[in-house]
């Protein structure tokens, strides 16, 4: 009746997951209770859960990403603590528990923290920068989000019901085959990632179409802001490689469920085929994450230097270069597989070559600052921290790209330090920069500057104190994923690393305090102008927060840096552009289909994990029924009357008039 599911799946004998899950359940129940008690359900349902507004979906993605980032960070704290105490000692985590923690840490950080955060920014920013009212497929966008959320839910359920994979964040066979991983851990991994992967693929399709087919008049390719280019490149990679992930995980599922032999150690199975397939997805995946991060830095450097981005066209070329070459380097993840010198050399060279594209970008950012009026605001601090951190991470990466050197440090802590160096220094720093940069656009008030700066400095030094020792440990021969170590000389470095985690925790607390203080002081931090940073792209032409239709009239772009052009024109002529004729606007209607998808995807995923076949069948039938009902809907869009558009737009114009007067007053003051 319930497949493999029984009461023994609940970890009554393991205090850490049990207490964590009890707390988690209480927090969730408390939140739901509060929402019910305050009668917030109608608001939540109408304004968020069913909303097809790309800005709200983006915010929900970011929220999901932040929650999962905290969960993944908790795993990281446990790992570093364990390694610091388990020197010639067992530590406090059993090996099988420790193995689940490092697997969950990697899976969560990549799939459910970094991806939702990056996609959240793509959602929030791209349509605004392109000067349009929504993405190409608004309802599909909502479904994408809910599929990602379902995957995240399944990962968290594994904490309480059953177990998670012990195989690392990529379930290498034959270890991940039924013979060696008979539990449901790998199945949780497979279905959580499979479900969220389909959501990501839909996002990729959506944004390729949005950037290529949905731009405001005059927005030709070479007038698009850099972030839009990186969204396009990242989405193109998603479309090209996420099906590989789907196929690979489907093959592993067939092996596990039905005893097929794609990757088994015997009967003609080929484990190395798994390595090739998974990294043909996995390596481009890091560029899916880091390219939008580069886009965020490009926006920040140019805005806070008060200059156009240096070498815009070379930046576009470098982005597309990375987009293509990212798919030609996957084999460097297993140089030690023994493909022979010719193959290893080819992939060593392609890996080194991709650094050229990144190098172009680094120089462009530096030259953007050169001669500019640089403002050291919080986003700029993260960006400068990124340049320093990422360059070092990139250089250790080029070192690893040399096959003979890679043989020495393969799967060592050196590797762990390297990829944290590029992913934290590249992606996470960008996300914090972007959070501070676009927060006023999303919520109408800025984040507190002092706490923001404090959190940067703690994070920056915390990062280096955590990971610099790991480089040394790796060179001294410490391999990754060790539950305990037997070499007492490593103790000081492991303790320094743990101290670094402590500093990172302080940095995270500063972020929380920053958020709380900013909300409390929101009236003082209010952005009345819609343009708090003296921005250059079209999102700053809207009010903060923008109306749900973004633009009353689609802007007409006349050159690069669309909004900068409009702004300079207005300042020179001392008045805004002529007030246009307002027309009715058609906007897509809200849809419960996303939430519905989440329900059946979670149920079906859970049923497949525990092999409750009737429930899985029921879930799929419900999916089809939902698909038909959705396809039958008659109302797709609703009209926003011209009067309402005019009312909203005139309020924005009043803000702009005020801004214009303020600028004029400042300029008339003799220097």
């Amino acid at each position: 009746m319930f497949g493999k599911l029984s009461w023994s799946a609940i970890p009554f004998d393991q205090p850490i997951p049990l207490i964590t899950s009890i707390i988690l359940v209480l927090v969730i129940a408390g939140t739901l209770g509060l929402v019910t008690w305050k009668r917030w359900w109608p608001y939540l349902w109408n304004e968020w859960i069913t909303s097809v507004d790309h800005k709200k979906i983006g915010i929900m993605y970011v929220l999901l990403g932040v929650v999962m980032l905290i969960r993944g960070f908790a795993d990281a704290i446990m790992m570093r603590t364990q390694q610091a105490v388990a020197i010639n000692a067992p530590g406090y985590l059993e090996p099988e528990h420790y193995d689940q923690i490092f697997s969950a840490h990697g899976t969560i950080m990549i799939f459910f923290a970094a991806m939702p955060l990056v996609i959240g920014f793509m959602n929030f920013v791209t349509p605004l920068q392109l000067g349009v009212r929504d993405v190409a497929f608004p309802t599909m966008n909502l479904v994408s989000f809910w599929l990602t959320a379902s995957g995240a839910l399944l990962v968290n359920v594994s904490l309480f019901v059953g177990e998670f994979a012990r195989t690392g964040w990529l379930p290498y066979p034959p270890l991940s085959e039924t013979a060696y991983s008979p539990g449901v851990g790998v199945d949780y991994y497979l279905w959580a990632v499979q479900i969220s992967g389909i959501g990501t693929l839909m996002t990729g399709i959506n944004f390729v179409t949005t950037v290529l087919k949905m731009r405001c008049p005059g927005m030709s390719y070479l007038r698009m802001p850099m972030f839009c280019w990186t969204t396009l490149a990242s989405s193109l990679i998603i479309v090209a490689v996420f099906p590989i992930l789907t196929a690979t995980l489907a093959m592993l599922s067939l092996d596990r469920f039905f005893g097929w032999h794609f990757f088994t150690a015997g009967a003609g199975g080929n484990p190395m085929m798994f390595m090739n397939l998974i990294w043909a997805w996995g390596h481009p995946e890091v560029y899916i994450l880091v390219l939008p991060a580069f886009g965020i830095f490009s926006e920040v450097f140019s805005t806070f230097s008060g200059k156009p981005l240096f070498g815009y066209r070379s930046m576009v070329a470098a982005t597309l270069f990375i987009c293509i070459v990212s798919m030609m380097t996957w084999l460097h993840h297993f140089f030690t597989m023994g493909s022979g010198p010719a193959v290893n050399t080819a992939f060593g060279i392609s890996t080194s070559v991709i650094a050229v594209g990144t190098g172009v970008k680094i120089y462009n950012w530096i030259f953007t600052m050169y001669g500019g009026r640089v403002r050291m605001s919080v986003p700029m601090l993260w960006s400068l921290g990124f340049i320093f951190t990422f360059v070092i991470g990139g250089m250790t990466g080029v070192l690893l790209a040399v096959p003979p050197a890679d043989f020495l440090v393969h799967n060592s802590m050196f590797l762990v330090a390297h990829f944290h160096n590029v992913i934290v220094g590249g992606v996470v720093f960008a996300l914090f920069a972007g959070l501070d940069y676009w927060f006023p656009k999303a919520f109408g008030f800025r984040l507190h500057e002092g706490w923001g700066k404090a959190s940067f400095w703690f994070a920056f030094f915390g990062f280096w104190i955590t990971f610099a020792p790991l480089y040394i440990l790796g060179l001294e021969g410490m391999t990754r994923r060790l539950q305990h170590v037997n070499i007492a000389e490593w103790r000081p470095l492991l303790l320094i690393s743990l101290a670094g985690v402590g500093i990172l925790i302080v940095g995270a607390l500063c972020q929380v305090i920053m958020l709380v203080v900013s909300i409390v002081q929101r009236d003082r931090l209010r952005d009345d102008s819609g343009d708090p940073w003296d921005g250059r792209s079209l999102e700053w032409a809207t009010a903060s927060p923008p109306p749900f239709f973004n633009f009353a009239i689609l802007p007409n772009v006349e050159g690069e840096e669309a909004y900068w052009g409009i702004k300079v024109k207005a300042i020179e002529s001392q008045r805004l552009s002529e007030e246009p004729d307002y027309r009715d606007i058609e906007m897509p209607v809200n849809s419960p289909v996303g939430f519905y998808t989440a329900v059946f995807a979670s149920v079906t995923g859970f049923a497949l994990i525990w092999q409750i076949w009737w429930l899985a069948g029921l879930g799929l039938a419900a999916a089809f029924a939902g698909f038909v009902v959705f396809a039958w809907r008659d109302v797709h869009e609703f009209h926003v009357p011209a009067d309402e558009v005019a009312k909203v737009e005139r309020a924005r114009r009043a803000q702009r008039e005020a801004l214009l007067e303020r600028i004029a007053a400042e300029e008339s003051v003799p220097a």
């Binding site: 349009v132 190409a136 405001c216 008049p217 196929a247 005893g259 032999h261 003609g268 689609l554």
Partner: protein, 230 residues
């Protein structure tokens, strides 16, 4: 029911000539085209966005198939003492399968010609024929699998057989799901008629069906023809 009698093809030609965007016929450098999403004139029209997005999806679906093709290529010789490819191929049945599927692509094209002519009856008739031919294809494939299983040839035997059943089965699954989609479309068309969104979906369905045909040609060649001469 209809304004235009067959032959639908004549009507189609007229509509293509009158296509304001001259899609696929436009010379380069002739200035911006309204509603085509080329940047100068604002967002593209819905029909173009839907079609474009679906093409992108098809590309991703072809990547999915290419992984299974790759697995088949890698594991073609990994028979683990079990049967090889030449013991699996039964040419006459595969020939009938292929004929049914290729013919269904033709009838699918005819259904869209009728859609362009806004002829409900002929659209439905040709969609029905398409679906029946798809059913013949899936049925023959199912018989093949049952037949193989009765001879003890199952995916659990070897890496090669896993790759074989994986690749051919994935295509069969696609055709089955496409058939389900087709039935839904026929019902929707009957109830709602040629509304813009219904026509957009018919365009997507046509693209999908033809893409599955192209994938089958790859399977027919690489798995069956090359297997027969192995």
């Amino acid at each position: 029911m209809t304004d235009h009698p067959l032959p639908a093809a004549v009507e189609t030609v007229r509509r293509v000539r009158e296509d304001p965007h001259r899609l696929g016929h436009r010379g380069h450098g002739h200035g911006p085209v309204e509603g085509a999403g080329h940047g100068m004139t604002g967002p593209a029209r819905k029909r173009i966005i839907v079609g474009y997005g679906f093409w992108i999806f098809l590309l991703s679906d072809i990547v999915l198939f290419s992984c299974f093709f790759a697995a088949f290529a890698v594991q073609r010789g990994a028979t683990a003492g079990g049967p090889g490819i030449s013991q699996l191929v039964e040419m006459p049945r595969v020939g009938w399968e292929t004929a049914a599927l290729l013919l269904s692509s033709y009838t699918c094209g005819l259904s869209f010609a009728a859609t362009n002519a806004r002829n409900l009856l002929w659209t439905q008739i040709f969609l029905l024929i398409t679906g029946l031919l798809g059913l013949v294809f899936v049925g023959l494939e199912l018989f093949e699998f049952i037949d193989l299983a009765s001879r003890g040839i199952t995916p659990q035997v070897s890496g090669f057989l896993s790759a074989f059943f994986g690749l051919v089965g994935l295509h069969g699954l696609h055709v089955t799901l496409a058939g389900l989609w087709l039935l839904t479309m026929m019902a929707q068309l009957q109830v709602k008629g040629f509304r813009p969104e219904v026509v957009h979906r018919l365009i997507c369905f046509n693209l999908f069906w033809h893409a599955l045909d192209i994938v089958w040609i790859g399977i027919f060649t690489i798995v069956y023809l090359m297997g027969a001469v192995a």
